[in-house]
Amino acid sequence: MMRIEKHPILNFEKKKEISFIFENKQVTGYEGDTIASALHALGIKTLSYSIKDKRSRGFYCAIGNCASCHMIVNGIPNVRTCITPLTEGLIVERQHNKGVIK
């Protein structure tokens, strides 16, 4: 379990569950999560693959600076998943390329 339940300084109350789709599978996060934090809590660290060598990529900065967390969300590529709030029913996919605008 990657979620903090008890903390000496902070209070993490149980929040409302939010279900979303990751790589065609239904998974669950919590209200207040970003897409990246929900995935990390599920043990999913690889968010995309590098364009040329297809190396695994996770997030780096978690505050929207570095572009390392880009994923395809609801069909839109290059979404900064580390600052995008998780909402019900989002369809999240790993990105393998520069991003294709449909």
Partner: protein, 362 residues
């Protein structure tokens, strides 16, 4: 196009403090932040802050964030836009903002850039493996979203952020196997160092990371000792099994948006990187565009607040709507900033600011 007297980019300690002085001066203000919540990096600082009463010393960073937000949230002359990213800044002070899936345009009489900083990275083999995160990222994950970064962590860098995040990892129940520091001395405050050392975390100075090991995510890290000339000492390699590597090797000012208006910039290592050349009231070479906080040089949040207040006051004055107590407050905040920079840890900033001043007068 929506018109505003003042637009502040960034709702961290500098931006919020600038906003407070601006709204108190009756300016019509728009505060834009790309994150879901205001407060910048304060919202993950669970430790008690240094400084003096004027900087809310001994209050925890998370509570300072709440206070700064409370200080401004009820003003009718302040509009706050969260989850909004400024993607364009133009010479006529027009801003393009990406918000709610759309591009919105604003125009302001003055703009304050308080975009803060970004974490530096380090070059080593396999540095792109998932499991290798910035120290700030780990704080965000842990202290904002309540998610643990992993089980075993190695920290790279012994500046204040590295030391503080180590302590916070321990508080969250994560095992920190050590702190690696390339310099021969610990970079941050020694009280922070002593705090984690007594909890059993070794601090390895004159040591650096050689490579990361792992296939799809981090499995181990190889470290190596350095001699006085910062050269690797053969045979001192050590493999440490960790699933998380936390990189805390400093911050760079987020100056990029100022390049869009061709503001005069200068590389000043003491301030953390490329910063805008400014005059005495933090105005850039582009008229009516100002900058404050870490975007103008890396310091503690306490300094960012003081600089934010000062810049808010100066901009109000510049727009001919001075704060009722303008001169007095400007004097006080100047004094506070001078005090904060008056010790050995402030020397670097003072040297950097001196270099910046020499450029602006050149």
């Amino acid at each position: 196009m929506i018109k505003k007297e003042l637009i502040i980019i960034g709702g961290g300690p500098a931006g919020l403090s600038a906003a407070k002085m601006a709204v108190d001066s009756n300016l019509d203000v728009l505060l834009i932040d790309r994150s879901p919540s205001l407060g910048g990096q304060l919202i993950k600082q669970t430790h008690k802050f240094f400084g003096s009463k004027k900087q809310n010393a001994k209050m925890r960073g998370i509570d300072i964030a709440k206070k700064l937000i409370n200080d401004v949230k009820d003003y009718k002359n302040l509009e706050i836009l969260s989850n909004a990213t400024v993607v364009g800044l133009y010479l006529d002070k027009v801003l393009t903002v990406f918000y709610d899936g759309k591009y919105v345009r604003y125009q302001a009489d003055a703009v304050i850039v308080a975009t803060g900083a970004s974490e530096k990275f380090l070059a080593f083999e396999n540095n792109d493996l998932p499991g290798i995160y910035g120290a700030g990222a780990i704080q965000t994950l842990m202290n904002v979203y309540g998610v643990l970064p992993g089980k075993d962590v190695l920290m790279i860098g012994s500046g204040n952020i590295g030391l503080i995040v180590t302590y916070q990892l321990l508080q969250a129940g994560v095992n920190v196997k050590g702190i690696v520091e390339a310099a021969p001395k610990i970079g941050g405050y020694k009280v922070h160092a002593s705090k984690v050392r007594r909890l059993g975390v070794p601090i390895m100075t004159s040591t650096t990371i050689k490579r990361a090991v792992g296939k799809d995510c981090l499995e181990a890290v190889e470290i190596i000792s350095l001699d006085e000339k910062w050269q690797e000492i053969p045979g001192t390699n050590k493999i440490i099994d960790v699933d998380t590597l936390c990189i805390s090797v400093g911050l760079s000012p987020m100056h990029q948006i100022l390049s869009m208006v061709n503001a005069k910039m200068k590389y000043i290592p003491e301030l953390g990187g490329v910063v805008a050349v400014v005059d005495d009231i933090n105005q850039t070479s582009v008229e009516s565009i100002f900058v404050c906080g870490d975007a103008l040089g890396i310091e503690e949040a306490s300094s960012a607040m003081m600089e934010g207040y000062l810049t808010g006051l100066n901009v109000a004055k510049y727009l001919r709507k001075p704060h009722p107590d303008s001169e007095n407050l400007i004097h006080n905040y100047h004094q506070e900033l001078d005090l904060l920079r008056n010790g050995p840890f402030g020397q670097k900033t003072l040297i950097g600011l001196q270099k910046l001043k020499e450029t602006s007068h050149a």
